[in-house]
Symmetry: C3
């Protein structure tokens, strides 16, 4: 992206001029109805009645501190970006309600985990309204969800993405070997609400977040330090499982954990798609995986996308391994 | 690409100057011998005699309307871009003739489906000449073909690409489950015949086309609206199969159908490479797949590359599902 | 990248100004302590005692001629970029010593093949010091290695990368079919030691190198002509195996051999990850594969990344096939 690459390409005068304009460009251009908005995050509501699962979520405008001192007035689900982790079981019927608290823009929900006609099941919910939709999650996996309102790129890149895990009815063949498990999401950030930069530029930040799968685990937003400040935890000798999805919006991911090799990988989290001994797993945009690996010594194990320009922009997290 | 990203980066004066130059830049720089050329598309000729298949194709200059009102004077096979779909059987011997109707530039044919020494089997055919080549298609799959004349990037990016399906001798394990099948191709367009933009820029358009596999199906070029204006058709409950290839030239694809999950995927279309339950399939540049999925409700199901900057540039198509 | 794409975007005056600055920009900005340095390559030292393998390598500053007349004062392992090929056996314990001959910058070694706590096993070795580390290579495959010193992107992009093959204890199912085997590495080069270009730009060159697996084979650096000037060799009818890794640092690869189809592919080189009949294999950044294919006729078979903007920047090599 040119604004970040002027150092050697232009004369000093032009460089100064461009830096001035860049400073303006980096000022968030928040749309008028969002200017005073910063809704507090609200917890995900999820209730089960047999195989019927009732999920309530919000679309809302909430500041996310992507880097120290830089707040992005994100378009979010429930005030998080990525949105809250949803976990259901293979075969569940989801009854989903979206409450759109955005006063200005319609939003919607596209769960990659379900079968539905998108023009109905993923339909827009107008500002200050709510909509309810039902569909079944018939396949196990680590699925992306996202707002599907046009222009979709703006809605995803402004923060409306997340992960729904559909747990396999018969589990994974390696379930009994796993001592710790975590959920990790990769996403990119662009210049604020700048569809042109989202379409033609390179990411400003590429980040990881973690979402609590079990009691005591953290929920973080996608920021350049989130999974460094609060590392994932494991004990020497543990087999660790990570449910990972790369929600994009634009880039693919080369997911890698330093200091180990994946014992087992399930592409998109489906137990049928088993691979072994991968150093790095290729994730398409919106692609997921379950990866499992053993940490044999005490210390700090970083994970990255091995597309290192993206690691350089933030996409690094830590796993802290302590003695048993 | 900078010309599409000037809004916030430069002063208004410089912006105006750049816009003026861009307008010129976007004027096709058609080479002199192509200036008055716009050859009508000619149908693919394909004849079979046992396992010998005789295929005649042309290299020709033909206008392709990529976006409403924007004609790209494409370098094509048979006046289509992508070129016509070729379907043969595993084990066939192909006898291929290329008639080069381009008065100025040599062209050639590289079928990814065949075994041959490229300097002989994929050799250049000079302007206004024709060349015949023979080779065998020994592996089943959804293969790219393209002109292999240097600079190859110019020939592919100017339109000389397409798909050859080699049908597996023993079929796919899921053949009996499939009710509808279609062929889809993803390709990118760049500034007209601008090797520098093709090499260092980002795509101007990313598009889908469909090619008729069966009687009554459409043949379209790769344009931003081709598979929206004429959606693929299916009935509620159908299992739909798509043969897909991402011919690039530069970008990988994260192929996804909204509102469903792939039941079965065969990477590169080889029955041995079976995956299940994918939300999105990763296609390298020139990579293919057979993907199968069930559409359970009436409505419109978009498909995209989930690299949403590319969807934003056109890479969206529709599947229209009606009641049985 | 803008500096390579000014032709149509700006006025002639501005273009001249930019070209002047670009000329300066392309002058290597070698850091002061490296200015007079150009250490001769030193051979890899590797000795075996049972399953204990003792490996000595250097970190050193050495000129690499990437293109004719363009020397890149690379940060290297052993004076090669990529560094020397390391081959060990599944289950080996590696005792690794890094001698850091760089007078100014710490370096380190991250083998993707091993299990270790990175903050200890991949720790920095200070200038003019050496460090020794031990760890086990428990998984077979075609693994990347690289310097892991911060900023990692600078160290990899300046040349500190290579491949370690861990040979599977029980071999590959197709071992008996293979007549020739070679090792190939893909890497990118950016503007000299320009972390901004490495982070936000596009590659200046994308290249292949080959490293000797067997006596009589070549060792080359990653240059735009390395595997054209000295092609890989095979005989008509050979099944050829290539161990390939895409060390990046930033880009994924769509590895393809023209004129053939891969009979067998082992993703990341693990015998468990078998695919068949691929035209192109998707390699994430730092991803590897074993690919096997048959060459049926005399002639020259190019291989490429089918992301053709990268092939255009150099990523083409040749296999020369002669009569038996
Ligand atoms: Cu939205
Ligand atoms: Cu989606
Ligand atoms: Cu051509
Ligand atoms: Cu090709
Ligand atoms: Cu280093
Ligand atoms: Cu690494
Ligand atoms: Na990128
Ligand atoms: Na590792
Ligand atoms: Na791109
Ligand atoms: Na879907
Ligand atoms: Na690129
Ligand atoms: Na080929
Ligand atoms: Zn728990
Ligand atoms: Zn690593
Ligand atoms: Zn296992
Ligand atoms: Zn038919
Ligand atoms: Zn979707
Ligand atoms: Zn099935
Ligand atoms: Zn040997
Ligand atoms: Zn080819
Ligand atoms: Zn085989």
């Amino acid at each position: 992206d040119e604004s970040q690459d002027t150092k050697h390409d232009v004369s000093p005068d032009l460089e100064n001029a461009i830096e001035t304009v860049n400073a303006e460009a980096n000022t968030p251009e928040v749309i008028e109805p969002h200017k005073e908005l910063n809704d507090d995050p609200v917890p995900l509501e999820i209730e089960r009645d047999g195989t019927d699962v009732y999920i309530n979520m919000t679309a809302q405008i909430t500041d996310i501190e992507i880097e120290k001192g830089y707040n992005y007035k994100a378009w979010t689900f429930n005030g998080e970006a990525p949105g809250p982790l949803v976990v259901v079981n293979e075969g569940d019927t989801i009854h989903f309600t979206l409450e759109n608290k955005d006063p200005a823009i319609p939003h919607s929900m596209d769960f990659h985990a379900v079968h539905t006609a998108p023009d109905k099941g993923f339909a827009n919910v107008e500002p200050n309204e709510e909509g309810t939709f039902s569909y079944q999650a018939t396949k196990p996996g680590v699925f992306m969800y996202h707002c599907g309102t046009a222009p979709v790129l703006s809605h995803i890149a402004n923060g409306m993405h997340g992960v729904i895990i559909v747990q396999p009815k018969d589990g994974y063949p390696t379930d009994h070997e796993v001592e710790k498990e975590y959920a990790i999401i990769q996403n990119e950030w662009y210049k604020y609400n700048d569809l042109d930069d989202m379409t033609n530029g390179v990411p400003s930040q590429v980040v990881f977040s973690t979402k609590a799968l079990h009691e005591g685990q953290s929920n973080t937003n996608g920021t350049v330090t989130a999974v460094k400040d609060e590392p994932l935890l494991a004990k020497v000798g543990d087999k660790v499982r990570i449910y990972v999805n790369n929600v994009g919006p634009n880039e693919v991911s080369s997911f890698h954990v330093v200091g180990t090799v994946f014992d087992d990988v399930y592409i998109d989290g489906n137990p049928a798609n088993h691979m072994e001994g991968l150093q790095t797993v290729m994730l398409p945009a919106s692609g997921g995986a379950v990866v499992e690996f053993t940490v044999k010594e005490e210390g700090v194990y970083p994970f990255v996308t091995h597309q290192f320009n993206h690691a350089q922009k933030g996409a690094v997290g830590f796993i802290k391994v302590t003695a048993d």
